[in-house]
Symmetry: C2
Subunit: 487 residues, 2 copies
């Protein structure tokens, strides 16, 4: 162990044991270096390490202080009061400053371990993707790459890839001028750019409740405020509440996952999508449509996106290959309607363009790789896996459990008995090597306490089955404990 690691561990122990309390200043570099007989740079290295571990934090001009932020071990005690409003609230909640990062980062960090059963993951299993075939596309596409494209193919992106994407829109019945398409570093960047293009810091944005936590993080980063609109587990965002909110607040944008919503799995029916577009048009509010699960439908056809009903260029439609073909390649896109140029310029100012080999590889694969064949197989796998997980819930979870049954994607939204705290379930499950996504991750107001999101994107096997059994036990034990305390 290096000297700075040793010193960092000493300080960490002081924090854990409460000698250094939250908010307290840690010893100054000069003091620590003198009293411990180590060099100032060793002290600094130790403090960086502690900072990276989330234990302390630098304040400009004042030194380092013990963090009072979320820590997994102490979470249960400081969790917010239960908020058991039904998932479909009757009215608009107030707008909220968004600060959900600590919780989200803690959860994400904990599920990076590849040995954890990934029910809490945001990704389907990489085993479901044709990664070898993609690597071949990568080889042949970069072998033939014209070096000059380094200059000519900056944003909006690889023309052949954009043509392939436009073709897929066309086959789905939607004419999209190729010039509207911009390639991004995954859909997450597309969503960031779109939201920045249509808002200023401090603006209100209508989001879903529950919402995908990345949406909350983008709002937080851009200093926007959230107006939460309830999502019905079957037919998605509540248009009546949205209309009230649009009348009542100066909302500048609406963000919605209209198909296979994360976390609920809800899909807005086509007629309602038309209504949603019309409602937003009436208020001249742009819709940022996060449609990354579009290809993962179990029915005969893909549900049409809201974009299909947009005649005014007010829908900014974001897609990605990360969930259907090439995780890790970081290739997404946006068709941003009337905001296309503004978004493209923001992209040029932010990261210039997406990685060219990855773009070229996916363009090649779309032309020669058998994407549709792969997608058919993928959809079947996901549907089978959903059936397996629903079966396991029926076998192992308490009888009061309620669960969605989405027609696509790879998430189940599970409502546990209302006394169960999903954050405690998260911790107990993680201790058993199982990850889940607790409900409060999906709300800036930390609602959905008795909810969990389960990922069935992994081919079902004995480990999954045993993990579900263990989860069921954990949940039941918490009902017991709670019931016990009450009596």
């Amino acid at each position: 162990m290096k000297r700075y690691e040793k010193f960092a561990d000493d300080i960490a122990e002081l924090i854990r044991s409460g000698v250094l309390a939250a908010g307290q200043r840690v010893p100054s570099v000069r003091y620590a270096s003198q009293t411990h007989g180590i060099s100032p740079s060793t002290v600094f290295q130790a403090y960086y390490l502690l900072e990276r571990r989330g234990l302390i934090r630098a304040r400009p001009r004042s030194g380092y202080f013990v963090n009072d932020t979320f820590s997994l071990a102490g979470l249960g005690d400081r969790a917010p009061e239960p908020d058991l409003r039904p998932a479909v609230a009757a009215q608009v909640s107030e707008s909220t400053e968004v600060d959900v990062s600590e919780l989200v980062f803690s959860v994400l960090e904990s599920i990076k371990n590849p040995d954890t059963v990934p029910f809490g993951s945001a990704f389907p299993s990489p085993a479901l993707f044709p990664l070898q075939r993609l690597a071949r596309s990568l080889s042949s596409a970069t072998r033939d790459m014209d070096p000059r494209m380094v200059v000519s193919d900056l944003s909006p992106g690889n023309p052949s890839l954009r043509r392939q994407i436009a073709l897929r829109y066309m086959v789905a019945g939607q004419m999209l001028p190729m010039e509207e398409l911009l390639i991004t570093n995954g859909a997450l960047e597309a969503l960031n750019l779109c939201l920045q293009a249509v808002t200023e810091p401090g603006d209100l944005v209508a989001i879903e409740a529950p919402a995908f936590y990345a949406c909350l993080q983008v709002l937080e980063r851009l200093k926007l405020k959230a107006v939460e609109i309830p999502v019905h587990p079957q037919h998605g965002i509540d248009l009546v509440v949205l209309e009230q909110a649009l009348r009542r607040y100066p909302i500048k944008a609406c963000w919605s996952m209209t198909s296979f919503q994360n976390p609920t799995g809800a899909t807005v029916p086509e007629a309602r999508k038309r209504d949603l577009v019309e409602l937003l048009r009436k208020h001249e509010v742009p819709l940022i449509e996060d449609d990354v699960y579009a290809e993962l439908y179990y029915g005969q056809h893909a549900p049409k996106p809201a974009k299909a009903f947009d005649t005014e260029g007010l829908v900014l439609h974001c897609g990605s290959f990360a969930k259907s073909l090439a995780p890790g390649y970081r290739v997404g896109w946006v068709a941003a309607g009337r905001y296309a140029q503004k978004v493209e310029r923001l992209k040029l100012m932010t990261s210039l363009c997406a990685s060219m080999p990855a773009q070229a590889a996916i363009a090649d694969y779309l032309q020669h790789g058998g994407y549709d064949r792969h997608l058919r197989k993928l959809r079947h796998s996901l549907e089978d896996q959903q059936r397996a997980m629903l079966g396991a819930i029926a076998r192992y979870f308490p009888a009061q459990t309620r669960v969605s049954q989405p027609s696509g994607g790879y998430f189940l939204w599970v409502e546990l008995p209302e006394t169960v705290d999903s954050l405690k379930v998260f911790q107990a499950a993680l201790a058993q090597g199982i990850s889940i996504a607790p409900g409060p991750m999906f709300s800036p107001t930390r609602r959905f306490k008795p909810f969990i999101r389960l990922n069935y994107g992994t081919p079902w096997n004995d480990t999954c089955e045993r993990a579900m059994e263990m989860l069921g036990k954990i949940i039941r034990s918490m009902m017991g404990a709670d019931a016990g305390r009450r009596s």
Copy 2:
């Protein structure tokens, strides 16, 4: 020609001929559709196209209006009054809201054409890079890629690549904990994230004058204000002026390219870099060090970065492979000192992680590809090309011309006779198929009117020689014209 294109051209002609003036509303969709007997969606398609061409712009709730922004053709007339302050000003200029995008985007768009002589380009010629060898690394690295890294190798990035980068720091005499390193989508993203990590909208940032225009764009995007600090063409940012500025203004960050600065080519000597770090430390102001040309030195050794003198974690050191190895791969990095965790989280919130095949390819190449051999060759080529371009300037440009002679990189900063307007030179040269970068691109206050930046990153040939001759003629003709008007 499609109907909407025809209609768009009609409107464009009305704008060009002045029938529709800047700021004027274009016909409403309903009106245009009725009077021209075309469908509203055709009108919308036409208006999107015009918007993308920069001719019109939508205003929420009011319709489309003719743009009054920068247009290349009309630029000369509306250019700011000449500002002939010397490149090294004696004092601090006031802070300035940054809005340089229109000019920069117009210039960048115009030089995308691969047939243009790329003296205005920001990139060296792709012909100088081992793209075939890299493609081999890409193939072998992705063939062996563990699919699970899709989950485990999110930000901070590919561990093997980060290890290779840390090794290169070590060989250069700098110990950097690997945990400090974050892989980004090129240095541009790194710089964006760093600046966001240490500022809030409205804050003041000390930047160089002249500054790389991407820096100005990042400030603009993040709604920050610039305090311009003069750059001496030999030894870089002026520390006396910087100190005055730090005393006078609540500056929250300093952005500097300390080696082979873009556009001047200046390098801050090592002793001054130490002073720079010490000065900023005294004021507790973080330094965002843009060091993307670090490997392109012509001397025996790389100049040390300011980061080498940082003992407090206040220097956020940004690097990239785009200028030295793999343009288009979009792989950069940052060693963000005490801000490392904050920057990593912003990265996770913005674009999750950099493209994994590109990261794996560069990691493989650094291990097996002969990077140092390639770099030696590249440095020799650039030095030869600098000699060739300096020779051409001596042969063809007016005698009053002054030019820097950088000890690395691939830019010359050329001061033309003070009556010459570089924006007019830009237009005239572009008409001859030659691009240059006019001085006002590099300043939020549009200074450096008689300056141009020339890129010698292309292997010298007859086309380059003839283009320099033509540039010389253009510049002389403008001196004549101006002199004529005066008499």
